[in-house]
């Protein structure tokens, strides 16, 4: 199975999207993150980045902001929300690729 990991991975990603599972989990996570205040924290951080770059704001790109805020955004997600969504994803992977004992 390991040698086919490339093809299986692509297949799984496709199924994740096409089955609607990705969108379903995205919505669940969106609500939880909003309730936990995560979106507000990330928004604050983004605005701080904009202010810090006020002198070169015309040249400020979306990528510039994204690069600086992504580590903060990722680490700022509450652990219980991460674990919950991760479990759903692992369940999806398990359903899509049942374990084989060979």
């Amino acid at each position: 199975m390991l040698s086919e990991t490339g093809g299986i991975r692509e297949e799984l990603l496709k199924r994740f999207i096409e089955s609607g599972e990705r969108e379903r989990l995205q919505e669940i996570m969106r609500t939880k993150l909003h309730t936990s205040g995560w979106q507000d924290r990330v928004k604050d951080k983004c605005q701080k980045i904009v202010h810090e770059n006020a002198d070169r704001i015309e040249k400020l790109t979306v990528d510039d902001i994204a690069e600086e805020v992504t580590p903060f955004a990722r680490s700022s997600v509450p652990e219980d929300i991460k674990a919950e969504i991760l479990e759903d994803i692992r369940a999806f992977i398990f359903r899509a690729l049942p374990e084989t004992d060979n």
């Binding site: 928004k43 805020v69 955004a73 991760l86």
Partner: protein
């Protein structure tokens, strides 16, 4: 900090068996118990995932081990894939916020080619006398003047 209560339900030693109802305390207790349960759940989930995510310390010694470590490799791949999908979901949400912030920032420096009004100049609404930045003026007038569909309108 002692919470003083009037009447017989006091905090004296003689009333130790009588519980003073405190809804605020109960609500906080319930909330934090929920948080503790969620964290326990998260810890258990991570404990289950840990073996799959730990890299092997010794290579397989002989052929009979190959089945076991193949299984471990599979588990590790799944775990890494799950993490990757999760990170993608988080990054998607982050980008939403980034785009909004970027858009607002760029609106602030926008200038009308015709009349040189800056995007952050303030305009006063004729109807309600409130001030708005030029970029948001039109959408407010839309709702305030009532020409496009009003859902709940209060006539002044």
């Amino acid at each position: 900090m002692k919470i003083k209560s009037e009447g017989s339900g006091g905090s004296g030693p003689g009333n130790a068996d009588k519980k003073v109802p405190n809804p605020a305390y109960d609500e906080l207790l319930h909330f934090y118990e929920g948080k503790i349960a969620a964290l326990r759940h998260a810890r258990d989930a991570l404990e289950t995932a840990k073996p799959a995510m730990t890299p092997p310390t010794t290579p397989p010694a002989n052929g009979s081990d190959r089945g076991g470590s193949q299984q471990q490799d599979n588990q590790r791949c799944r775990a890494l894939l799950a993490l990757e999908l999760l990170t993608e979901l988080i990054d998607d949400m982050t980008m939403g916020v980034v785009f909004d912030t970027h858009f607002e920032a760029k609106q602030g420096i926008s200038v009308c080619a015709n009349c040189s009004t800056s995007g952050s100049d303030m305009c006063e609404c004729l109807n309600c006398q409130r001030s708005f930045p030029a970029a948001r003026f039109a959408s407010h007038m839309d709702k305030c003047m009532g020409l496009s569909s009003r859902r709940t309108a209060t006539r002044r």
